[in-house]
């Protein structure tokens, strides 16, 4: 047993942190936040050149053949830096959906392209508010043509291709759709975090290629969500750390009543609680990372645990960081709201906290019964 990342993995993380702290400053994140661009194309290009999207893709499929542990440490840094790039959509969602649902020939053709950033992928599943129900899908496929409407598609407005959940002859499955087709219309939605933009996609009999290896779609989606839950948890703990560091720095430098604000016990205890929430989330995320990398049977419970604790921790850190800044924390100018927005947005990808808590309990009871 060894409950820590290896030296090599820590080195990858350090490289990622150094790169992002110089290239992805919050000033740069703000260009996307302020709507100057839908995502940071130049940064994405650099990230592609560094090979990050290829991290957990096998070497014979054009990837680096590293693994999920390496992807987790990169995720933590992307979360810390609030990177305004389609990494979640393309890497954790589209590429993983293809790994799980596509057959060998499809994987051999698509994964190298995704690894090389030749196209950006996204995942389109949601049609209305609330938990996704497979039996209620309105998006359908007939004779290879897909029709319907998907909402809250992360990076859907700029992605090149989407993996779309739809039913054909009452059988739900995943389909790859080229979003540049004229029979696709896209509408950008106003997202709580403009650096993780959402879109509505309408398909009107667009050509769609079925991912050929989707047998049990519910299990496939569960696994896809579990994998993403772990990776998102790392983005979230990266954000927790950054929010905590920001609050510390501000209150250490600010004086009130003749003392450093950070010397008031109420403030210190606030930070202690933020630290505790982050550490619990981190430890749970490590466990999830291991279960993911070892493809262990404990992944479902570990992923749900990591997800719930990361959502709770990031909410706590990001909201209390605002309070620790006083009025400055409520301004557009200060970065506090960037973390707060990101915490909200990340918590809502793939189902919110109540949904994941319910999954956690179901899984706990299932293990107990076994």
């Amino acid at each position: 047993m060894n409950f820590d990342f290896s030296e090599d993995q820590k080195f990858i993380q350090e490289q990622a942190r150094n790169f992002l702290s110089s290239e992805c400053t919050t000033a740069r994140v703000r260009q996307t936040l302020e709507g100057e661009q839908a995502y940071d194309q130049a940064l994405w290009q650099q990230i592609v050149e560094l090979g990050w999207p290829a991290t957990a893709i096998a070497e014979d499929q054009g990837g680096l053949g590293l693994g999920y542990l390496e992807l987790c440490v990169i995720a933590e840094e992307l979360g810390r830096a609030l990177a305004p790039v389609p990494f979640i959509a393309s890497v954790y969602l589209a590429a993983e959906a293809i790994k799980l649902g596509a057959d060998k020939a499809q994987q051999d053709s698509w994964l190298p392209q995704l690894a090389a950033g030749e196209w950006i992928g996204c995942l389109a599943v949601q049609e209305k508010p609330g938990a996704l129900k497979l039996g209620q899908l309105a998006t359908t496929v007939t004779d290879g043509k897909l029709s319907g409407k998907k909402t809250a598609v992360l990076h859907g407005a700029i992605a090149d291709k989407a993996v779309v959940l739809a039913t054909e002859n009452d059988q739900p499955g995943l389909y790859l759709v080229d979003l540049s087709a004229s029979s696709v219309s896209r509408k950008s939605l106003t997202s709580i975090d403009p650096t993780l933009p959402l879109a509505e996609l309408t398909f009107d009999a667009v050509a769609a290629e079925k991912l050929a290896d989707c047998k049990d779609i519910q299990t496939l989606l569960d696994t896809l969500y579990d994998r993403a839950a772990v990776l998102l948890a790392f983005e979230q703990i990266g954000g927790c750390d950054a929010a905590l560091a920001m609050g510390k720095e501000y209150t250490v430098g600010r004086y009130a009543f003749g003392r450093q604000v950070a010397s008031f016990q109420a403030i210190k205890h606030k930070f202690a609680d933020m630290f505790v929430a982050t550490e619990l989330a981190r430890s749970n995320a490590y466990y999830g990372a291991w279960a993911l990398s070892a493809d262990d049977a404990e992944l479902p419970l570990a992923a749900a645990t990591a997800r719930v604790s990361a959502i709770d921790a990031y909410y706590e850190c990001s909201k209390e960081n605002i309070q620790a800044h006083g009025g400055m924390g409520f301004t557009w100018e200060f970065d506090c709201h960037l973390y707060y927005r990101r915490a909200q947005a990340l918590s809502l990808i793939l189902g919110g906290n109540p949904q994941w808590k319910e999954l956690l309990v179901e899984r706990l009871l299932r293990i107990k019964a076994a």
């Binding site: 047993m1 060894n2 409950f3 820590d4 990342f5 290896s6 993995q9 542990l69 905590l244 510390k248 250490v252 003392r259 450093q260 950070a262 010397s263 016990q265 403030i267 210190k268 205890h269 930070f271 202690a272 609680d273 630290f275 505790v276 550490e279 619990l280 989330a281 981190r282 430890s283 749970n284 490590y286 466990y287 990372a289 291991w290 279960a291 990398s293 070892a294 262990d296 645990t305 719930v308 604790s309 709770d312 109540p354 994941w356 808590k357 319910e358 956690l360 309990v361 706990l364 009871l365 107990k368």
Partner: protein, 407 residues
């Protein structure tokens, strides 16, 4: 990262499992908790059995009564033994706190004679730090030790000393100089608790038990050879003990989750197990994330220690989160039982009235080993590096500092 055993560790686990199967008491569905006093005799017998089998204090060197194994082996031992109904953490104060102090500061001869007896619980040890005027501010302690020849003469009073009534030895922190500032005038020793001049008086706790004590010293003697560390170096030595305490506690401290998980599956309300209730499920999920988080955090810290690190101040988090949760769970469990929740009879209340007993004992767990506020101060100052509390006693000689109750 690998949460699974290496082949060698798997082998060890198998061996431990086989031994426990043959020697440990199985958990019953209605487990419940026995009071500290009831558990004492059982604990002595259990520790002796574990010692004879060679599993006591797994990380201690063999010549000191341990098994010479790693922190990871200790994790394996704890994971396996927690599946049984055995009082495996009972003597954690001795083995977890006093042991490391001896290991660090005692002479070779003392270590080879005393540590094996501590490992087998033949000798029971207690920790004599807190005093009536010195708890959170433990450096405010006044119990005085004065050197006469090669002996220290001790006078004063300790309080809240867990298990002192059963103890053969104690690690004690004394004031040896009142002219210097408070952190510089202390010295640590170990003391024979059965000698004349040491008077132990159990204190009745709010839950009705008497697990902790007042201890009065009236010209009790400590040979200078039982000094742990330098004269005046007591504070540094105490910090070492306290760090180890937090790590030791975070491994064995109850957080209430396993019992609660059992309860919600068996307790029925209106003909349905309460676990079907969405409100209960929400609480269950939140508490599970903390329970799993504490365990995984402890394992991460042990990995760091196994690689040669010191237990850090991070260890405070397991104690802080687990103790509060333990109380909240017990309270919630009673609420779920509605009117019958107030019934404390072992025969009637679920799990031998575990939750009723816990409601009454949990406040003490939050205090012992440092209060919630002190844990947060430690995390804020020692982990996060935030400014220290302004201190009104800075630069003053100890004798001039007001402390304790002034009302």
């Amino acid at each position: 990262m690998d949460f699974k055993d290496t082949p060698e560790q798997a082998e060890f686990r198998k061996e431990v499992q086989a031994w426990l199967k043959a020697n440990a008491t199985a958990k019953t569905k209605d487990g419940g908790r026995t009071s500290q006093e009831e558990a004492y005799e059982r604990a002595k017998a259990w520790y002796q059995k574990v010692y004879d089998a060679g599993y006591a204090c797994p990380t201690w060197p063999k010549e000191y009564g341990g098994a010479g194994l790693t922190q990871i082996h200790k994790v394996i031992w704890s994971q396996e033994v927690s599946k049984y109904d055995e009082p495996d953490g009972y003597f954690v104060i001795g083995q977890g706190n006093c042991g490391p102090a001896l290991m660090h500061f005692a002479s070779e001869e003392q270590k080879t004679t005393l540590l094996p007896r501590m490992a087998s619980a033949e000798d029971v040890w207690c920790q004599l730090f807190s005093e009536p005027s010195a708890g959170s501010d433990v450096a405010g302690l006044r119990t005085k030790a004065e050197l006469k020849g090669d002996k220290w003469i001790v006078n004063g009073q300790k309080i809240w000393t867990s298990g002192a009534q059963h103890s053969d030895y104690g690690v004690i922190l004394c004031r040896t100089d009142t002219e210097v500032s408070k952190y510089r005038g202390m010295t640590m020793f170990f003391i024979d608790m059965k000698q004349p001049g040491v008077d132990v008086q159990p204190i009745k706790q709010m839950d009705g038990g008497s697990h902790f004590n007042e201890v009065f010293f009236n010209n009790a003697e400590i040979p200078d050879s039982q000094r742990l560390g330098e004269v005046g170096g007591g504070w540094g030595a105490a910090l070492l003990v306290l760090m180890n305490e937090r790590l030791a506690i975070s491994g064995v401290q109850p957080d209430g989750f396993p019992e609660f998980f059992e309860l919600v599956q068996t307790l029925e309300l209106d003909g349905e197990p309460v676990v079907n209730n969405p409100v209960v499920r929400d609480r269950l999920a939140t508490w599970y994330t903390r329970h799993a988080g504490i365990k995984a955090s402890t394992n991460r810290m042990l990995t760091a220690v196994a690689k040669g690190g010191m237990p850090g101040a991070e260890a405070a988090l397991g104690k802080l989160v687990g103790a509060v949760m333990n109380q909240d769970i017990a309270n919630y469990a009673l609420q779920l039982m509605a009117d019958t929740g107030a019934i404390c009879d072992d025969a009637l209340a679920p799990q031998k009235a575990h939750f009723q007993k816990s409601v009454l004992f949990a406040p003490g767990i939050r205090l012992a080993g440092g209060t919630d506020e002190v844990m947060r101060n430690i995390i804020a100052e020692q982990v996060l590096g935030l400014p220290q509390e302004p201190r009104a006693d800075k630069g003053m000689a100890f004798k001039d500092i007001p402390s304790g109750n002034q009302h």
